[in-house]
Symmetry: C2
Subunit: 299 residues, 2 copies
């Protein structure tokens, strides 16, 4: 029987003692695709594939999942997507794949996308964008046992442009939280996702699907607020490494009391390291140590 995303994920976390997600976002010294013709192009695609396969082989002992960023394959046109497709078939069956797509679509377009990611690309989970509303989330969890992480508080410096807006008459007031005070838009997005999750609870709990949110490790205080309002939601946290996210603060803020509910993505700091395997092992160990401290202090 094929395992669901949530089953695969929790199994990896528990059996391998790791909440490390390795990001596959291969930048290659490459001008525009127009400059690449014929054999050059074929060589580039081979290099791309080789580089990613290497990364996967060296780090797979230390990860709970892999997260390929679709944009970095997409930039090479259909050839790049072919590499991604091959790659996703080469990731060991028991390691879940989160396709970082940040997609947004409703109705038939959403179903087409879900079909693409889960079927053609063999993904267990995709990242989505919330702006189109709940209708852009539900089609992606129709297929039992799949997962989504919806962008809630993204790790980029200007993410507050929209996400930080103070919203009135939304969840903050309705829930009577914080004296019914208005809350930031990202809190509303977390609320929408939690609602979608609970709405699908019967199927989700049975089949192990998942509606989680993306919360950048660059904003641990916000993560803490979200965690305290939504104790059950799963978080996918990017931003460690080049973006300067704080690992200890992230784990303290995001980890659920059961030691689950949080996976931390590391991209370039592993994939561009001299020895990606060693770098991944070091990150896993550091995360383990922090988790131990956090779990101890909670008791």
């Amino acid at each position: 029987m094929t395992r669901s995303f949530l089953q695969k994920l929790t199994r990896r976390i528990k059996e391998h003692g790791t909440i490390l997600c390795v990001g596959i976002d291969p930048p290659l010294a490459c001008p525009t695709t127009d400059d690449l013709r014929g054999s050059n192009r074929q060589q580039l695609l081979e290099d791309l594939h080789e580089k990613c396969v290497c990364l996967i082989r060296r780090t797979s002992d230390f990860v709970c999942c892999f997260k390929p960023n679709v944009a970095f394959f997409e930039q090479y046109g259909s050839g790049g997507m072919e590499v991604l497709q091959r790659l996703c078939r080469e990731i060991p069956e028991d390691i879940p794949i989160i396709l970082d797509a940040k997609r947004a679509a409703t109705d038939e377009a959403a179903e087409a996308m879900a079909n693409a990611f889960y079927s053609a690309y063999n993904a267990d989970c995709v990242t989505l964008d919330p702006y189109l509303g709940e209708g852009a989330i539900l089609p992606f969890i129709k297929e039992k046992g799949k997962g989504v992480f919806v962008v809630c508080r993204s790790s980029n410096p200007r993410s507050s442009d929209l996400q930080g807006f103070i919203v009135v008459e939304g969840f903050g007031a309705a829930a009577g939280k914080e004296d019914g005070a208005p809350v930031e838009l990202y809190m509303e997005v977390a609320h929408m996702c939690d609602r979608a999750r609970r709405h699908r609870e019967p199927e989700l709990s049975k089949e192990g699907g998942l509606v989680g949110i993306v919360v950048g490790s660059t904003y641990p205080k916000d993560m803490k607020r979200i965690r305290s309002a939504f104790p059950d939601l799963w978080f996918l946290s990017p931003g460690i490494g080049a973006q300067g996210g704080d690992l200890a603060a992230t784990i303290e803020a995001g980890l659920r009391q059961d030691g689950l509910g949080l996976i931390v993505n590391v991209g370039r700091a592993i994939s561009e390291a001299k020895d990606p395997g060693k770098a991944a092992e070091a990150f896993r160990d550091e995360m383990r140590q922090i988790m131990r401290k956090v779990t101890l202090s909670a008791h």
Copy 2:
């Protein structure tokens, strides 16, 4: 010299008297890609290509641009993307291509995407999602002469889930509009896009790039409000046909006083018509008639 998106677009609108954008979103009776193997799969991709080429040939006299929806090609994996790539090279050079991608990315991922769409797929313009903030828009207009339409008020029924939230202390208050009253999130998105547009004005006006917004024809009242606050922004309006958008109300609400600033997308009502050419011609004629009325009554 290659023309910019804005140059191509306004030329088509003026010389061919049309604001009709034809959506290329080919649904095909097809189970999942997993069920399609070998020759079946190849045949499906050939059918997909043939169907789209037919649509382009029959309707191109009546359109100001084409808008392929990436999701419907993406669902067939890399093979589908290859069809899209071929197709975009087959669209006549003087008709601009808007790739409906609703993408969201920042930094290097955004540059990778822009590279993909403008270079590998030959697009003149892409649709973007606003949730990551202004930083997710600017990389796409770095390349001079390209355009973006950012989703602002989408046409789907549940689009108010987020877009309708009332925001305090944002543009509404700052601009002193409507007695400084709080405004909906979509108004803030329109404001962000207008700011990005003006921020890039020197390059944009010189090279003819474009930052526009997507405003569904299913919400003409909201479109009217956006138009009155942002008289210069370009609108791309989906929702006519299956979604039940009102064509007359859309043109009245969205057309700028100079007769530009609005393009109206029609998808299935043309692509799935018995005779797509005839259907496109009829839509163009109806739009022309309404435009004439609107322009007359404005004088």
